[in-house]
């Protein structure tokens, strides 16, 4: 489970002064559910997710991820979280197998369980063909599968996806979306950030619309449609983030 309470992150910038990356963001995600964080570029999605993954420390507020506080027990939070973003790349000079094994060891897996875990992930994600190929020689689809295997190697309870399909071709993006759906099927707590409305519509059980660091609206797709009076999610989004009367 994920529970964010008034999460706030202030970046101190010499030129712009204090910048609120996230401003009192609160939401809750139950196991077996996908929470969609919808927002434009710079809305505060990545900042919020980085705080949940303990990469950034909140300026104020708190969050509990898989039963652990992100400020007091960051190591325990990370041990229960799988984080995938466009910014989480692979080591080019390692093979796909070495990459997965490395993160398995960092998560405390023993050599025997690591071997069987890599074998089962390779079966599941159809990776046998390129498992011993260096990451810099992989196609974008193969790289994404390796990243997913890296994320899953320690079988985390919570999965955080930060715009995982950004820059990917249609087929690779579809396989990611399918995989995220599978995570829900396995009872994982999933949070999925995107600015692609179609993905949010297809995947998410609950959608939170974030804009300028603040959570502007939250609910199921049906609830958002009802609240805004629009049927199309893009129109719902625009109505939420752009105040009435703004040209």
């Amino acid at each position: 489970m994920i529970e964010a309470r008034l999460l706030t992150k202030v970046f101190r910038d010499r030129k712009r002064g204090d910048v609120h990356g996230a401003d009192r963001v609160s939401f809750r995600v139950e196991p077996g559910r996908i929470y969609g964080l919808l927002g434009a570029n710079g809305a505060g999605k990545t900042t919020t997710l980085r705080m949940l993954a303990t990469l950034l420390r909140p300026t104020s507020g708190s969050a509990v991820v898989a039963g652990h506080d992100v400020v007091r027990e960051p190591d325990k939070v990370r041990a229960n979280v799988g984080f995938l973003a466009t910014s989480t790349a692979l080591y080019d000079r390692l093979t796909s197998r070495e990459m997965i094994a490395y993160f398995g060891r960092l998560n405390g897996l023993g050599e025997a369980s690591l071997r069987s875990r890599i074998a089962s992930l390779a079966d599941e994600l159809e990776m046998h063909e390129f498992l011993d190929r260096r990451c810099d020689k992989l196609s974008s689809g193969m790289k994404q599968k390796t990243s997913i295997a890296r994320m899953l190697v320690h079988d985390p309870q919570v999965m955080i996806f930060d715009e995982p399909t950004l820059g990917l071709d249609v087929m690779t993006a579809r396989s990611i979306v399918r995989f995220v759906r599978d995570c829900r099927g396995r009872g994982k707590t999933v949070i999925y950030s995107t600015h692609v409305m179609g993905e949010a519509e297809k995947l998410c059980d609950v959608i939170g619309i974030i804009h300028q660091g603040r959570m502007r609206a939250e609910g199921t797709l049906a609830e958002l449609r009802e609240r805004t009076g629009e049927t199309d999610l893009e129109e719902c989004f625009v109505k939420v983030v752009v105040p009435e009367g703004t040209p």
């Binding site: 980085r50 993954a53 990469l55 950034l56 420390r57 190591d75 325990k76 990370r78 041990a79 979280v81 799988g82 984080f83 973003a85 466009t86 910014s87 989480t88 790349a89 692979l90 080591y91 080019d92 000079r93 390692l94 070495e98 490395y102 993160f103 060891r105 960092l106 998560n107 405390g108 890296r150």
Partner: protein
């Protein structure tokens, strides 16, 4: 702190670096081949240039001396000079290297020789120019020979034994063992090269595993793991230190092998028919081990500083722009250690790099100042610990890790 996690990070980073051509070049290839290149390549080239310069019969000018035809004829007959007729622009000709040197013979020189009261002969050369220096050396030898012969003749004419002018001889002999000779000869340059190589060996891995990782996006991947930040820093730092020490070890081994090879070749020549005999200069192995021990805290210092500086950078390019100028900061005290007259004292024992340069020079020539060695090792270890603490502190700062 988890040694298991540190070991995992170290093993992965080491494997990664061993697959990186830039790191292999700066930590293994260059340190291994730089000393043979300097000793064999540059040394051989320099000796070939000197041999060639010595073989050249220098073009000289004799200024004046019209009334001393004998001296002029002797100069020409010696076969060591090509004597040219003096022209008014002889100074310019020496500067332009068209004439190597000139001898000014005063008026009435040859006549005055008979009475033993000849005026001074002036020799002219272009100081610092090798061929000009060799030519003027030959000219000096010629006139010193003429002076000796004149002295002998004058003494003989007066019935005085030649030993009056040279009542005793002065002889010089070396009592230093070959390793001390080698230490004195190489003691200056070796620490300088070691300091430089120690720094260069750490540079590439430090930049690659900090700024390089940030640039490639793998740093964020690593930060998602449950490993403590301090353990990540230590695992990565140990790889940088390994690079630095590997470079030093490669350099010292290659240096030793080069000296053995050069020593065997000189020794063989010396022991051969007509050779003067005696051993070739070598370096005391204890001195080399001492240098290696003293380099360890300096390697830690360089590795930690480079780690911290590169960590601050957003990209490899930015890291290079920070680390590049640091080379000069490192080289300057190392060069200062080469200067004559700078001796190790308590104050200088606290100056990083310079203290290493000075103490290594002493150790390689067989002098062991244990007090200073302790001060240098301890102070450098303290500086290194402070630099490592800075690196850990920086790694914990979001502003540094996510600097865009």
């Amino acid at each position: 702190m988890s040694w298991g996690a540190i070991g995992t990070i170290y093993a992965k980073e080491l494997r990664d670096q061993l697959r990186d051509r830039r790191t292999l070049l700066s930590t293994i290839v260059i340190p291994t081949f730089i000393m043979p290149a300097i000793v064999l390549g540059v040394g051989k080239m320099a000796s070939a240039i000197i041999v060639k310069a010595r073989q050249e019969i220098p073009r000289i000018m004799v200024i004046g001396g019209a009334d001393s035809p004998g001296v002029r004829a002797d100069l020409e007959r010696s076969g060591k000079f090509r004597v040219e007729t003096a022209t008014p622009d002889w100074r310019s000709l020496i500067s332009e290297k068209r004439v190597r040197a000139a001898a000014e013979i005063p008026a009435g020189f040859e006549r005055a020789l008979g009475s033993g009261s000849a005026p001074a002969v002036n020799l002219y050369d272009y100081e610092g120019e090798l061929k000009s220096g060799l030519a003027v050396e030959e000219l000096r030898n010629f006139f010193l020979g003429l002076r000796d012969r004149t002295t002998a003749r004058l003494l003989k004419e007066r019935g005085i034994p030649a030993t009056v002018a040279r009542p005793f001889e002065v002889r010089q002999a070396n009592v230093a063992p070959p390793e001390k000779v080698g230490g004195n000869l190489l003691g200056g340059i070796v620490p300088y090269i070691i300091v430089l190589i120690c720094f260069m060996g750490a540079m590439s891995p430090a930049m690659d595993i900090t700024a390089g990782e940030k640039e490639r996006g793998t740093m964020e991947t690593l930060l998602c793991s449950p490993v403590a930040r301090t353990d990540i820093v230590l695992g990565k730092f140990l790889v940088v230190l390994t690079g630095s020490l590997a470079a030093v070890v490669c350099s010292l081994v290659s240096m030793g092998a080069t000296l053995v090879a050069v020593g065997a070749s000189i020794g063989g020549m010396a022991a051969g028919p007509g050779g003067p005999g005696g051993a070739a200069p070598t370096i005391d192995p204890a001195g080399v081990l001492g240098v290696l021990a003293m380099v360890i805290p300096v390697s830690v210092l360089f590795s930690a500083v480079l780690f911290a500086v590169s960590l601050f950078a957003k990209s490899m390019k930015e890291a290079q722009s920070y680390a590049g100028p640091l080379v000069f900061v490192v080289i300057l005290p190392a060069i200062a250690g080469l200067l004559p007259g700078i001796d190790l004292n308590l104050r200088l024992a606290f100056v990083p790099i310079l203290n290493l340069s000075l103490v290594c020079k002493e150790m390689l020539s067989g002098v062991w100042h244990w007090g200073y060695i302790g001060v240098i090792f301890g102070s450098t270890a303290l500086y290194a610990a402070a630099a490592l603490a800075l690196a850990v502190w920086m790694f914990r700062r979001e502003g540094v890790i996510f600097r865009t």
